[in-house]
């Protein structure tokens, strides 16, 4: 993620760390910062955008999970945190994030792409002083990068502070991964999909845009009527049922993800293709590989390739297929069996749902039939009452008294 600029930032150290931190950033942190920036700017609020990030710490593993804005104060000409305010605020957040327990892990602010600035030094010193830990990181949001985001690059950098031997504070850039919890991902996905922007609400019936959650609005309507309306709507505009919409949305997301996977694989392939021949497997090449080769990358490609077959255990139970194969795997693997069972369960629920509907429809038909038949008998009775006893020649024997008894 490092942006190499022409003039190096004197506050940045490129010295390799003794141990590497593993940092996982949650999207909520990024969106909270974004929300804060939008509010702060539109409301023309005073002062810089500064906030805190809480997360878990487990040895050298950190998560950045929630963020909040901070009240600032001035001290000896420096902008620092309002001590009292901050102490109370952090307790308030710890009170409601107990399992897992979250604590302060980083501060955030906006800064140029060059990295930490001089003003950040006294600020970070105060934070270290307040928390009596040196491990608080600094997350910088680079507004100028927002309009040139490519290939999933985020407009942020993360820094750890380093105490140099000369007593000065320097910053070392950290790499991080984006991590989402299950509910978080659904939430992020949900807001990402809807096209709703934040234009002001107009007077009267400004119907919120298409992303509104589909609530069944049919209150106390007759079932039949409701269905007719639905059918009319479907016919007129080709509207899909909410279930179908959902299905399509989930398939679309999958399609996009597969496209992305494909892109990544192609990227890897083109990288591998432009590498020189291996001198290990090809004895004719005598030149050792250039230093630029990324061995870590190659090793992880190798290990991924060796794991691919595990994804598809030999499911071969097909008689024709097995006869030509020599692995003798006549029995489907347990994973395949489990998968098959799962499949059957799903179909079973589908069948049961269809059956339930059929029963309901049949019952409906029965009730309607009953009404019609009743009416008809009533008519016939009144008709026959003039001409004597009826013959009971209604088709299907619906006059069978026992039905109405």
């Amino acid at each position: 993620m490092a942006d190499q600029k022409a003039s190096p930032n004197p506050l940045v150290t490129t010295k390799a760390p003794e141990t590497t931190l593993s940092v996982q950033l949650h999207p909520l942190v990024l969106l909270t910062i974004s929300d804060y920036i939008s509010r702060h700017t539109l409301r023309q609020q005073e002062g810089p955008v500064v906030g805190a990030i809480i997360g878990q710490q487990n040895g050298r593993n950190f998560t950045l999970e929630h963020a909040f804005e901070c009240k600032l104060a001035e001290q000896d000409g420096n902008i620092v945190l309002d001590r009292e305010w901050f102490a109370e605020r952090i307790e308030q957040y710890k009170d409601v994030h107990k399992a897992p327990a979250l604590d302060l892990v980083a501060m955030f602010t906006m800064a140029p792409v060059e990295g930490p600035q001089g003003v950040h030094v006294p600020f970070m010193r105060q934070v270290q002083d307040l928390t009596s830990t040196e491990g608080i990181m600094l997350l910088l949001f680079h507004g100028s990068q927002v309009d040139q985001l490519q290939g999933g690059k985020l407009p942020i950098t993360l820094w750890e502070s380093v105490q140099e031997q000369d007593g000065e504070m320097r910053f070392r850039e950290l790499s991080f991964e984006v991590e989402t919890g299950e509910a978080e991902m659904i939430g992020v996905d949900f807001v990402a999909k809807g096209g709703g922007n934040a234009t002001a609400v107009a007077k009267a019936d400004a119907v919120p845009a298409a992303e509104s959650s589909r609530k069944d609005k049919s209150k106390g309507k007759g079932k039949a009527k409701e269905k007719e309306e639905e059918a009319d709507g479907d016919a007129a505009m080709g509207v899909l049922s909410p279930e179908d919409e959902e299905l399509i949305a989930s398939l679309n997301a999958k399609a996009n993800a597969i496209k992305m996977l494909n892109q990544r694989i192609n990227l890897l392939r083109s990288y591998l293709e432009q590498l020189p021949e291996s001198y290990l497997t090809d004895s004719s090449t005598t030149t050792p590989p250039p230093d630029t080769i990324n061995h870590t990358l190659l090793r992880s490609v190798q290990s991924m390739l060796s794991r691919v077959p595990l994804l598809a255990p030999p499911t071969v139970a097909h008689p024709t297929a097995t006869s030509s194969e020599n692995n003798g795997g006549l029995q489907p693997s347990s994973i395949a069996q489990a998968g098959e069972k799962e499949r059957q369960d799903v179909h079973l629920t589908g069948l049961l749902a269809a059956l339930t509907r059929s029963v309901s429809e049949a019952s409906n038909l029965g009730s309607r039939f009953h009404v019609v038949a009743k009416e008809r008998t009533a008519k016939e009775r009144s008709g026959f009452s003039r001409g004597g006893r009826g013959l009971g020649n209604v088709p299907g024997g619906v006059t069978d008294e026992s039905l109405f008894a």
Binding site: P27, L30, R43, Q117, V201
Partner: protein, 365 residues
């Protein structure tokens, strides 16, 4: 002021669009005027819409999920504009198991007051415009206790809104299951005194009585969400990071327990409906109920609910299976081309569309 400038080298003005991001603004005087005029006093149905910011929605969803089977509770900050609540942020309250305790909210009062005080000091001027809580696995509606809480809030701190999130259903449906509600004043009878229940087919047996008893005392508002221009750009970049999870998730596996519960519930409801039919149909049973039209209608309604609940399960399961199939096709297809499941993979599509067909023909019948 030099330090001030040094902090603000990075200018944020370009990042917002005053028109598209207007909801992120806040006008204290305007809000005061609205609160003084109280247009909602004149019309019990005054508020019709809720717009929730991206952060508020994600915070509430995550909070609800973090509680697991326990109900959690929090507050929403924001303001009102015409007939709409604008929710800009959400905060957690340190209480759990709210559904069973009438005074759960008052326990959090002190926390709430201090939190909001600190927020204001940091420049977040919005007032509390509502509370949210979770209904793990039993759908979005207001229970008797909820109606009481909301009713009190509307009397003393209106404009106020109640939001309910079902974290379990959120996970199983893959989208945020959320509802927003306001109660009617005492003695007010909604025009269509029918149940606001109709759409809520999936309230479990154990909660059905509670649901039915209070369904006429509140109404639901239409929920939508909003995000800023900057959010949109970041979300796009973020998707490039979390797309892996889109393929790798296994909803069939993760939701197994939840689905089993749902099936149990449908089974219990089916038994109940069956009992009802037998009672009404007498010894002859079957489809010629002897009861008057009223009894039959409620019977049909109940059957309808069972059908809806069953189809909901089937649909969610089908989506789960599709996810598994996609994964299998992508990762296993090349490795084991002639697998014995060749036929099986064809079935789900057929089965799926068959389910769809029945639905379609029903609708058109």
């Amino acid at each position: 002021m030099d330090t001030q400038k040094a902090w603000e080298i990075e200018n944020a003005v370009k990042l917002v669009d005053p028109t598209r991001d207007a909801l992120y603004n806040y006008n204290r005087e305007e809000q005061k005027k609205i609160t003084d005029a109280r247009p909602w006093r004149a019309n019990p149905n005054h508020f019709k819409y809720v717009r929730i910011s991206a952060v508020a929605l994600i915070k509430m969803t995550m909070h609800a999920r973090s509680g697991g089977d326990l109900e959690i509770m929090g507050l929403m900050l924001g303001y009102v504009e015409h007939e709409t609540f604008i929710v800009t942020d959400a905060l957690r309250l340190p209480v759990e198991g709210t559904e069973t305790r009438v005074n759960a909210q008052s326990e959090a009062d002190e926390y709430m007051v201090q939190y909001l005080d600190r927020s204001r000091q940091a420049g977040q001027l919005e007032n509390a415009v509502g509370w949210y809580h979770s209904h793990p696995g039993y759908g979005c509606w207001l229970s008797g206790i909820d109606v009481g809480t909301q009713h009190t809030q509307q009397m003393f701190s209106d404009p106020f809104l109640a939001v309910v999130i079902d974290p379990h259903r959120t996970i199983s449906a893959g989208k945020v299951e959320i509802g927003a509600f306001r109660t009617y004043p005492d003695g007010y009878k909604p025009p269509d005194s029918g149940s606001s229940a109709e759409g809520m087919a999936a309230v479990p047996m154990a909660k059905a009585a509670d649901f039915g008893a209070h369904a006429n005392r509140y109404y639901s508002l239409e929920v939508s969400h909003f995000k800023s221009t900057l959010d949109s750009k970041l979300l796009e970049a973020l998707w490039n990071k979390y797309w892996v999870q889109t393929i790798s998730s296994s909803p069939l596996f993760t939701n197994r327990e939840y689905v089993t519960h749902q099936i149990e519930d449908v089974a219990a409801k089916t038994r109940e409906v069956d009992g009802g039919v037998r009672m009404r149909g007498g010894a002859m049973g079957g489809f010629a109920p002897r009861a008057g039209p009223k009894g039959r209608k409620s019977g049909d309604e109940q059957v309808g609910k069972v059908v809806k609940a069953a189809e909901k399960i089937a649909n969610e399961e089908r989506m789960g299976l599709l996810a598994a199939m996609v994964k299998e096709k992508v990762f296993a297809a090349g490795v084991a081309p002639a697998s014995g499941n060749g036929s099986a993979t064809a079935v789900p599509v057929g089965g799926g569309s068959a389910g769809g067909d029945t639905q379609m023909s029903d609708v058109k019948a």
